[in-house]
Amino acid sequence: MISYPENDAQVIEVVRGARAEHRALGIFGAGTRTARDPDDDSASVSSCQIRGIVDYEPAEMVMTVKSGTPVAEVEAALAANRQMMAFEPMDHRGIMATSGEPTIGGVFAANVSGPRRFTAGAARDSLLGIRFVNGQGQVIRAGGRVMKNVTGLDLVKLLAGSQGTLGFITEVTFRVLPVPPAIETIVISGLDDLAATKAMAAAMALSVEVSGAAHLPASVIGRFLNGDLPKGEATVMRLEGLAASVSVRAAKLAETMEAFGPVSRLGAYESCVLWREIRDVHPFADGSKRPLWRVSVAPSVGHQLVAALRLEACIDAFFDWQGGLVWMRMEADPKAELLRRHIRAIGGGHATLVRATDEVRALTPAFEPLPDGVAALSARVKQKLDPAGIFSPGKMG
């Protein structure tokens, strides 16, 4: 049973209805990540009829958009003014093999980011203000349209990434940045995972402002740029900015990276394609539902995690965020317990099961289990926003 409200008032009706009937309510956008089974009789509500750009001030670098607006529409409006969302949200359709168009609300509700996240911040760092309907059917505004805002508790951060379990976001206001006029990628070939980690750390210690640092091991290299990258492994680093600046920085970065291995460069077009493929986890957009994990650990130990797991399971992986974001595909068994144990062993982090068959999903919690103190706190916080527990109970924490 799916509702398609068109405005706040209708959302309130749906929420109040669910409360009255003691019904759980799932919130989604257009189904990019949550494929809806038409025979499924659980209640859900979609944002995709709440759409439209409400306000856009390029000179102030701020945009206000209704949550059900497709990301494509937002990006088109931004591109027309040579602006972009700094956090470059991933498009999950490739790996999920779904066709529901990503919505801007979904991006913030799931804190969807891309390669630039590790220096430019995640979706939640660009989010300035939201309007949402809480579990009591009240319309709540949080934040505003200015970046500097510390008036009261930061519910904007709390709702971002809350996966629709705390409220139905109907409008978002976020910061946008100019599109850098020039972009280039430095490629170092033939580094194993450990050497790549060291190279990326060295790059990040330079003042060249790398805005993307990923390592593509041999097993995945062929899936990028139609196989046009040099054979073996590729450690890739992106530089963006004014043309004069990029060229100076690229020279400096290339020089330093030569100490690690052979260096080549990619121009603007190829860079855009490559980083979009990294963003969308292209190698694992394989049409299957093999378990796909998104793992976040400290950059220096990503390679250690993968090495330790390889001893005990058959996994395929590549690295983003200087080595701290590991996309990991398992064969059939998600190996959740093994993975989480090793994450704890290397100093902490979290793993999210982004893709799996329905059977696997039913048995495997998608999100990282939280330590007791934090879990209890999270449960209390949820209770304050959704006292009756109608928004996807049990989904998160």
Binding site: V150, D154, G161, A244, R249, S378
Partner: protein, 505 residues
């Protein structure tokens, strides 16, 4: 009885005539109320103190009334409230023991960093125990591979950058008080600073915290990895003004120091021209590291202190800082100079040496304190959308004029965060009341034009009673409900942030 006398012009600043109130005023500002102290706590003061004494090492408890006096206020010095006692723990375990004790005995707790809050965030109340983190000042771990530093909450903001400076790194958020303010306080207030135009504020540079909840539970949020595992509780805690728990350790992001940085001074006849220049710079796609604005009064004050070479014959000054390698900076600078030229710039001065650059920033960062040379002041902190800046500036002038006061305007032009410094005489109760009222009007104006009450200083007590101007009852109730999830009895910094009336606890 009032006497007008010539001020002696100490320290080389001629301040003309001073109004000296000779009759004993001894007044206390009291238009902002605090919660009535709990009798159940006051009546047990001696017992509480002896129990605290037993659980803490020597030198960690302050309880003699004479010694409590310096803790009765912070940098929002027109309000004062004596605390019950002050504890100065040395580690997280002690903090947990203190919190647990206060929780069991329903004693309010007021966390305190360096007491530099401009909104009264650290002002206690008679039944509260101040938990001061100033002894916890150790840098615990510096991890360049992961670009992270782990520090105790009492480490000062500047000290983090100083600690890693020689290795080519820095910690970006730089509030003007960074010399003295602590990272714990920065997290409590989600502090900003001049350089947050490019690098973001504290919440965008915070990776993790170790925190003690009111019942003594110690939790860790975040770490050296990115993104929250579950809810972004770290994001919620940042800016929570000591109401959700006490932070004892923080993991912060380190960034490679840029090759060079250059502040450039642009002098304009009017603030409208300066404002238009700012808009054009941003619209052109250049994001400088910082864009700071000062009006004529502020320029005079800062130049008198720092001698940085600010032009004294302009109506408005912009400090624009760019960074990168020399060729990059030259390129960016020439574009910015072009834009400034199109906006009738009068003076352009790029700093040539590191010493000059340091002086330019010293002047700006000391603006608030340096104002103390000529008068007492309250420092406002509202944010407005950039397009509204000229309008708001002129309305501020109107408001101040109506109250018969003076103002110096300093602010972060790049993000619309304004700091009107309202000048008044603190020894004159009427003047003090007028300044407070004028400040409130200015803040409401910020909200009315689409901005907010506070950009980086926090709500504290200063803006607490204006919260309803920005939020509806539902919205305030929602925030308060979330707060209660952390501290159901409202023991943590209870008189702050949320209006006292209508609290549904």
């Amino acid at each position: 009885m009032v006497e007008i006398c010539e001020s002696s012009g100490d320290h080389g600043i001629a301040s003309g005539y001073e109004l000296r109130v000779l009759k004993q005023p001894g007044f206390n500002m009291n238009s902002i109320k605090f919660l009535p102290p709990r009798d159940s706590v006051l009546s047990r003061r001696e017992e509480i103190i002896s129990q605290l004494k037993a659980m803490l090492p020597r030198g960690s408890l302050v309880h003699e009334p004479r010694e409590l006096v310096p803790f009765e206020t912070d940098a929002f010095v027109s309000y004062k409230q004596m605390p019950l006692a002050v504890v100065l723990p040395e580690n997280t375990a002690q903090v947990a023991a203190i919190m647990s004790f206060c929780y069991r005995n329903s004693i309010p707790v007021v966390p305190r960093g360096a007491g530099t809050s401009l909104c009264g965030g650290a002002i206690p109340q008679p039944d509260a125990i101040v938990v001061g983190l100033s002894k916890m000042n150790v840098v615990l771990d510096v991890d360049y591979e992961n670009r992270a530093a782990v520090v105790q909450a009492g480490v000062t903001n500047l000290r983090i950058s100083e600690h890693v400076g020689a290795d080519g790194f820095f910690y970006a958020p730089d509030p003007s008080s960074q010399l003295a303010c602590t990272i714990g306080g920065n997290i409590g207030m989600n502090s900003g600073g001049a350089h947050c135009l490019k690098y973001g504020v504290t919440t965008n540079n915070l990776l993790g915290v170790k925190m003690v909840l009111i019942d003594g539970t110690i939790i860790e949020l975040g770490g050296k990895h990115l993104d929250a595992a579950g809810y972004d509780l770290l994001g919620l805690v940042c800016g929570s003004e000591g109401q959700l728990g006490i932070i004892t350790e923080a993991t912060v992001r380190l960034i490679a120091t840029p090759e060079g940085c250059r502040p450039v001074l642009f002098g304009f006849e009017t603030s409208e021209e300066a404002g238009a220049c700012v808009s054009e710079i941003i619209a052109s796609g250049i994001i400088p590291v910082a864009i700071e604005f000062m009006d004529k009064q502020a320029i005079e004050i800062c130049e008198a202190f720092a001698g940085a070479g600010y032009p004294l014959d302009v109506g408005a000054l912009l400090i624009v800082e760019i960074e990168g390698s020399d060729p990059e900076m030259d390129d960016m600078l020439s574009r910015i100079v072009d834009i400034a030229g199109r906006n009738s710039v009068k003076t352009v001065r790029a700093s040539q040496t590191a010493t000059e650059a340091a002086l330019i920033w010293k002047g700006r960062k000391s603006a608030f304190g340096a104002t103390g040379r000529i008068a007492d002041y309250i420092c406002m902190d509202g944010t407005v959308p950039l397009s509204k800046l000229p309008y708001v500036l002129s309305k501020i002038a109107e408001i101040i004029d109506r109250f018969g006061l003076r103002v110096a305007n300093v602010f972060h032009a790049g993000d619309g965060n304004m700091h009107p410094l309202i000048l008044f005489n603190a020894n004159d109760p009427e003047d003090a009341a007028k300044a407070e009222e004028a400040g409130n009007e200015i803040l409401k104006l910020c909200v009315d034009v689409g901005g907010c009450l506070t950009g980086e200083h926090g709500v504290g007590i200063e803006k607490r009673d204006l919260m309803r101007h920005q939020y509806s009852d539902d919205e305030l109730n929602q925030q308060m409900a979330v707060r209660s999830a952390f501290d159901a009895e409202w023991l943590l910094n209870p008189s702050k942030v949320f209006p006292l009336e209508g609290r549904a606890i």
